[in-house]
């Protein structure tokens, strides 16, 4: 196992290198010029050129790429073109809100979606199953921002139970932190619940046809025990896989959710950076997301071994 983990960590290096080269190249050929955005309407072409030189944007691709890689190797993600702040600091400011949103969303979505999927499988073909699947279709179909607006309208504007927007750091207390995350997490969790509930139902349906389940039933094992102890554990691998893959969905959804609820997270940082062509920030954030994704995949592989003792690396 340790050798496997070590090899997997090593394998992230070429992955990250390819991602880095890809992102850098993509930004290099993308249209747009941060120097023109900075200079503003009143600037002369000479002014724009001087800003471009100061930012080092006039240098050849390979030199810029080489310098960036050298910085990365030394743990430096560079300086934001627009804020003049280190990219590392900008990301650090934004990690907590996004991480909080993801954790709360994940916990909420899993705790709702897995029981929903299990119940749907148990009651397959009944109105309960149909209702849950109808909800799942709705979850996939309704855009995140619509759900966000509706929830904000109902729970913030009409009922005045929760805030419309914003984020309070965890160090300010649990409830202030949590109350700002309730609506965004439900909003973001909506799609995720749909995804997990559907896959849980499908795998559970398969597992519930197995002989050992029939044996358990014939032995008089309680239904809840069959569902949640025997069957669910054996259905868990595809569910865990989907939860992991769904993290990418979560990252994408967070961009919209953070905008709707004015949460200062990494999603908004990315969008703002893209619109302004703040190359170092875009590169830094994409690299971070890639790393997280690779790391999550590794974590899922390890979780497999816990769920299914037959799996060994």
């Amino acid at each position: 196992m340790p050798i496997f983990i070590f090899k997997r960590i090593l394998s992230t290096i070429p992955v990250m290198a390819i991602v880095a080269l890809f992102v850098f190249s993509l930004l290099y050929i993308a249209p747009g010029d941060p120097a023109a955005v900075i200079a503003g309407d009143q600037a002369s072409p000479a002014d724009v050129e001087r800003i471009r030189q100061n930012l080092g944007l006039d240098r050849p691709f390979l030199i810029r790429f080489g310098e960036w890689v050298w910085q990365i190797v030394h743990g430096d993600l560079g300086i934001s073109i627009f804020t003049s702040l280190p990219v590392r600091d900008l990301i650090a400011q934004r990690v907590e809100p996004t991480l909080s949103l993801m954790v709360v969303t994940l916990l909420f979505a899993i705790s709702v979606a897995v029981p929903m999927g299990v119940i749907a499988a148990w009651k397959a073909g009944t109105w309960i199953d149909n209702s849950i699947m109808a909800f799942a279709v709705l979850g996939f179909s309704v855009p995140v921002f619509i759900v966000g607006y509706l929830l904000a309208y109902l729970f913030a504007l009409q009922l005045d139970w929760l805030p419309v927007q914003g984020y309070t750091p965890f160090r300010e207390g649990f409830w202030p932190w949590f109350e700002n995350l309730i609506l965004p997490a439900i909003t973001l969790g909506f799609v995720y619940i749909a995804l997990i509930a559907r896959i849980t139902r499908a795998t559970m349906l398969d597992v519930l046809q197995q002989d050992y389940v029939r044996t358990a039933r014939s032995k008089g094992v309680a239904q809840s025990s069959i569902l949640f102890v025997h069957a669910l554990k054996n259905a868990a691998i595809p569910i865990v896989t989907v939860i992991g893959i769904g993290l990418a969905l979560l990252i994408g959804g967070a961009v919209v959710t953070e905008s709707v609820f004015a949460i200062p997270g990494l999603g908004r940082l990315t969008v703002d950076a893209i619109l302004r062509r703040d190359y170092p920030v875009i590169q830094g954030v994409v690299l971070l997301f890639s790393f997280v994704y690779v790391f999550v995949n590794l974590a899922i592989d390890l979780i497999y071994t816990l769920i299914d003792p037959r799996i060994r690396y």
């Binding site: 249209p31 747009g32 010029d33 941060p34 023109a36 955005v37 900075i38 200079a39 503003g40 309407d41 009143q42 600037a43 002369s44 002014d47 724009v48 001087r50 800003i51 100061n54 934001s80 627009f82 804020t83 003049s84 900008l90 400011q93 934004r94 809100p97 607006y149 904000a152 309208y153 913030a156 504007l157 009922l159 005045d160 139970w161 805030p163 419309v164 927007q165 914003g166 984020y167 309070t168 750091p169 160090r171 300010e172 207390g173 649990f174 409830w175 202030p176 700002n180 905008s259 709707v260 609820f261 004015a262 949460i263 200062p264 908004r268 969008v271 703002d272 619109l275 302004r276 062509r277």
Partner: protein
């Protein structure tokens, strides 16, 4: 819990009375406190001794160097932190601000300025003439009026601690206007060590002598910017009027909460989570007007001028007949309705280039934009101009509602005229780079793009680069019309308002006859604030002085 670290101000907002959420929070807190003492402190227990005004600005404060970055949002924030030598009032007249007195020599070549006593920077150091000299040197390297002054500058020197002298090679009658104007970049005064920064590099220390200090440690670009009252600021005695007069701060702390989503900003204002929203979108204004806790009024009486610019370097718009065909066909009402909807308070037709209701506004030569539109006559002009169906590359930024709406109207207009439209939907960042290209439209260049100009920039030619027609040095599209430039020079040399008006009438006519650009109309926007906030005024930027919160 203090609201200090709140990013998005829902905690600790200053609602009067006990609302449902506060009640629920308190109830929840009681339970939570019983379970784990110390992890939560109810909002009701918070002190509201510090008066905090929460403001939603027009866009993100992505950088904070008002000379390096000329975005309006930077200028607006900078006006809190850095003071200016002069400031324009609501009559558009320059008034003394940091300056106590000035003297212009009889030949008009030497200006001597004396600073007010007791001026201090936020780090406690006194404001001296050396700081002013360094600041003016940096400003004059970037500002259009500053560049004009720099071109005729003989010397700029500090005479003593509070006096500095600006010696010119020829008179510059608009000196005080240049130092007072609110167009970016404004002539903000910084400490010498900061002002020595290359004007093309960003400053990293935000020390000014204005009424508020920038709380850099609380700055989250894209989310929040905080300003705290500068206790040692000495406001002028005169009543405040825009950038002039006494800048008395009646709140201790101003939090700028950046909200990229208009619907969220609207909800936050209605919910009392923010106090003032700089630019609510027109669609949401009816909802805000219905709310008994919210005031809605025009934000800036000087408004904005919509524009689409044609590339004078390449066919078909290198031909004045074709440019005039567009003017003859375009209906400004179509453009304005696409921007402001049915609200007639928000727009005016603009048969000219200058901001309506300002002294130099005139409609000389504007007949082509008035009256019923005649597409047949426009088509005739197109034919006379020799238009042969070549593609017209129209680049339209889709991420800016103002440019998108105008672009859609123009595309429709050109199609009605039988023109071959190559509609390039893009974003503002890409447009910003592409419009600077002078290559032919088929090789990465362009034929037309849309934009808009703040009315405050269009009250005279001083900072109005868009109306200039100096060829290579002109704004994108590069019109080369000597008659326009002659009148710009005449305006700069004018000795009184009457002379200025004569020059501007001629300029307006020459600019319309030759179509420097196509004005699509004059439009304004609203601002909205909660009724417990008083002192909000209309102006070209949000003025926070004398704004109080009950």
């Amino acid at each position: 819990m203090s609201s200090k670290d709140k990013i998005g101000p829902s905690a600790g907002h200053d609602k009067i009375g006990l609302d449902r959420r506060t009640f629920l929070k308190t109830a929840a807190a009681t339970g939570a406190a019983a379970a784990s003492t110390g992890i939560y402190m109810p909002a009701l227990a918070q002190s509201t001794a510090v008066k905090t005004l929460r403001f939603v600005p027009q866009s993100n404060l992505a950088n904070f160097d008002p000379i390096w970055g000329t975005q309006y949002v930077v200028r607006n924030a900078a006006a809190l932190v850095w003071d200016t030598l002069y400031g324009v009032d609501d009559k558009l007249q320059p008034q003394r601000q940091m300056v106590e007195s000035e003297e212009n020599s009889s030949d008009g070549l030497t200006w001597t300025f004396r600073l007010r006593s007791g001026l201090k920077f936020h780090d406690g150091s006194p404001v001296t003439a050396k700081d002013v000299v360094a600041s003016m040197t940096r400003w004059s390297a970037r500002d259009p009026m500053g560049l004009m002054i720099k071109a005729i500058q003989a010397e700029l020197t500090a005479v003593d601690e509070r006096t500095f002298k600006w010696v010119l090679k020829k008179p510059y009658p608009k000196m005080l206007l240049a130092l007072a104007k609110n167009n970016a970049p404004c002539s903000f005064i910084m400490p010498e060590r900061i002002a020595m920064t290359d004007p093309f590099k960003q400053i990293t220390e935000y020390i000014g002598s204005g009424p508020m200090m920038f709380a850099r440690n609380e700055w989250v670009p894209g989310a929040k910017a905080v300003f705290e009252k500068f206790k040692d600021y000495v406001p002028r005695k005169e009543p405040a009027s825009w950038l002039a007069g006494g800048k008395n701060m009646l709140v201790d702390r101003i939090e700028w909460v950046i909200m990229p989503d208009a619907a969220t900003a609207s909800a936050a204002l209605q919910n009392g989570e923010v106090d003032w929203w700089e630019n609510p979108i027109t669609d949401l204004v009816p909802i805000l007007k219905k709310n008994k806790n919210i005031n809605v009024d025009i934000a800036d009486p000087l408004g904005n001028i919509g524009a689409f610019r044609m590339n004078h370097l390449y066919p078909p718009f290198n031909n004045v007949k074709i440019r005039r065909a567009i003017l003859a066909a375009m209906n400004q009402e179509d453009y304005m309705r696409s921007l402001v909807g049915d609200d007639d308070n928000l727009w005016k037709p603009l048969p000219g280039f200058f901001t309506p209701d300002t002294p130099l506004y005139n409609e000389e030569g504007g007949e082509i934009l008035k009256g019923p539109r005649n597409l047949d006559a426009a088509k005739q002009l197109l034919a006379e101009g020799g238009y042969k169906g070549e593609p017209v590359t129209c680049i339209v930024a889709q991420d800016q509602p103002i440019t998108k709406a105008q672009g859609d109207v123009t595309a429709d207009l050109l199609k009605k005229l039988g023109m071959n439209v190559d509609f390039v939907a893009t974003d503002w960042g890409t447009l910003g780079a592409r419009r600077a290209l002078k290559t032919p439209p088929g090789q990465g260049g362009w034929n037309m793009f849309h934009t808009w100009h703040a009315g405050a920039d269009c009250i005279n030619p001083a900072a109005y680069l868009a109306v200039r027609a100096s060829g290579d040095k002109a704004f994108f599209g590069w019109p080369d019309i000597p008659a326009v430039e002659t009148e710009v020079t005449n305006w700069f040399d004018a000795k009184n308002l009457d002379e200025e008006k004569v020059a501007m009438k001629k300029l307006n006519k020459a600019a319309l006859d030759n179509v420097v650009y196509a004005p699509t109309g004059f439009f304004k926007g609203y601002q909205a604030w909660r009724k417990n906030v008083t002192g909000v005024v209309k102006g070209p930027l949000p003025f926070f002085w004398n704004v109080a919160k009950a």
